[in-house]
């Protein structure tokens, strides 16, 4: 007896072309389930990391709290050191502006020619400090000057018998004793006195000299 072979085809038309031996209706829920599981693992990892980070953070905070009092003391002493360093810097500026004049004036007395008399020796006061902004007077004054140098000068008024005496005195002010202290002396005025000091004496020359001097520089 010859019978045709029985062939049962259970594949749908769409499944015929698929390379996967597993059907889509089985794969789709499995993939969705895997996605849910993956997200759950992701969340678990993040939560674990979060808990670990929080634990580390709280342990660092505890350590900081334990060291707080010691650290506050150190910070206080560091602030004090910084404040004192800044104060010292300003006081060093003051010291830099201190100029010794005693030796110079003593030398001046020694270098005075015989036939000369000093009438007045003056080192004028420095001009007043300008701490207000002239353009904006309503602005609060500055705490310190912007210029760190003060000019110093000497005004020497005297009498001498001759002009050569005055010149000799001016030359002596260029000597070694006044180096780094006084600049070149300049004549402000010279005039013959109208009357001699005593009857029978010769008329004297009244002179006024001005010397620039080493400036005071308030800078470290």
């Amino acid at each position: 007896m010859n019978t045709d072979p029985f062939h049962l085809n259970l594949l749908s038309e769409a499944e015929k072309m698929s390379s996967s031996p597993i059907r889509l209706r089985i794969m789709m829920p499995i993939l969705a389930l895997l996605a849910v599981a993956g997200i759950a693992i992701w969340w678990g990892t993040l939560t674990t990391q979060l808990l670990m980070t929080r634990a580390k953070c709280s342990s660092v905070r505890e350590e900081l709290a334990a060291k707080k009092s010691d650290h506050d003391a150190i910070v206080g002493s560091m602030n004090l050191a910084n404040e004192e360093a800044a104060q010292l810097q300003q006081l060093e500026m003051y010291r830099a502006g201190c100029v010794r004049w005693g030796e110079t004036f003593a030398a001046m007395a020694e270098s005075l020619p015989v036939k000369m008399q000093l009438v007045r020796l003056e080192m004028p006061e420095p001009p007043p400090q300008v701490l207000h902004d002239p353009k904006n007077p309503k602005k609060p004054p500055l705490l310190g000057p912007t210029n760190d140098t003060e000019q110093v000068s000497l005004v020497i008024t005297g009498r001498a018998a001759r002009d050569t005496t005055v010149v000799a005195f001016m030359e002596s002010l260029d000597g070694a004793a006044f180096t780094n202290r006084l600049g070149r002396a300049a004549v402000r005025s010279v005039q013959q006195e109208s009357q001699p000091a005593k009857r029978g004496e010769q008329r004297l020359l009244a002179f006024e000299l001005e010397c620039s001097a080493i400036g005071r520089r308030f800078a470290k």
Binding site: L24, R25, P29, A32, L33, A35, V36, I39, A40, W43, L46, Q49, L50, T53, K56, C57, V60, R61, E63, L64, K67, D70, H71, I74, V75, M78, E83, A86, Q87, L88, Q89, Q90, L91, M93, Y94, C98, V99, W101, G102, E103, F105, A106, A109, Q117, L118, V119, R120, L121, E122, M123, P124, P126, Q129, L131, L142, L143, G144, D148, F218, K220
Partner: protein
């Protein structure tokens, strides 16, 4: 009669589709309401941790530097001592009185007489960087006296020797009717405490 493709599906396929849809929705909700907030919280916690960690590093470095800072403070105290010793503090509310108590003996020793002391307004010092809270200033005191030129210079030299931080600001020596007696005016400056910068 028309019907949706969902109704035409085989029961197995329909169930599969529903399960997939439900699981997808669960995954999306899980991502939105659990994973994303957890990520944000973790980022925030990591930032906090890094901040605290850097604070701890600074604290440890500061604590480690404590002996060095102590030595620095001692050095500063030693450097400041000459200034603090020479600082002009008011006596009975007057700087002139303090100057008098400091300089009177030197002036008499140099042969000056008729001494008078006058307090002048302070002069500000240039500001250093960084600026201290307690500023210092120059306190001028004018001293007028009678005496010889050499007496005045002797007084000046004694002041400069005994008080190295006292500086001569200005000077005027002028003759009087008596040739042996000069009218002397000197302005000396002391370092003194000034305003507070803050």
């Amino acid at each position: 009669m028309s019907s949706s493709p969902f109704q035409n599906m085989a029961p197995n396929a329909r169930r599969s589709f529903l399960v997939t849809f439900v699981l997808g929705a669960v995954a999306a909700c899980f991502y939105m309401f659990a994973v994303q907030p957890a990520e944000e919280m973790l980022t925030k916690a990591q930032k906090e941790y890094e901040m605290e960690e850097s604070r701890l590093r600074v604290v440890n470095a500061n604590l480690k530097g404590a002996p060095k800072n102590k030595a620095r403070l001692e050095q500063l105290a030693a450097d400041l001592k000459p200034f603090r010793d020479e600082m002009l503090e008011p006596l009975l509310g007057s700087y002139a009185m303090r100057a008098k108590s400091e300089l009177e003996a030197l002036a008499f020793g140099a042969g000056l007489s008729g001494l008078d002391y006058e307090e002048l307004p302070p002069r500000a010092l240039p500001l250093p960087r960084p600026m201290p809270v307690q500023l210092h200033a120059r306190r001028p005191v004018r001293i007028t006296a009678h005496g010889s030129y050499m007496g005045a210079i002797s007084f000046l030299m004694r002041v400069e020797k005994e008080h190295p931080l006292v500086a001569l600001q200005s000077l005027a020596i002028s003759t009087t009717t008596d040739p042996d007696v000069q009218q002397i005016s000197m302005v000396f400056e002391w370092p003194t405490k000034g305003r507070k910068s803050k």
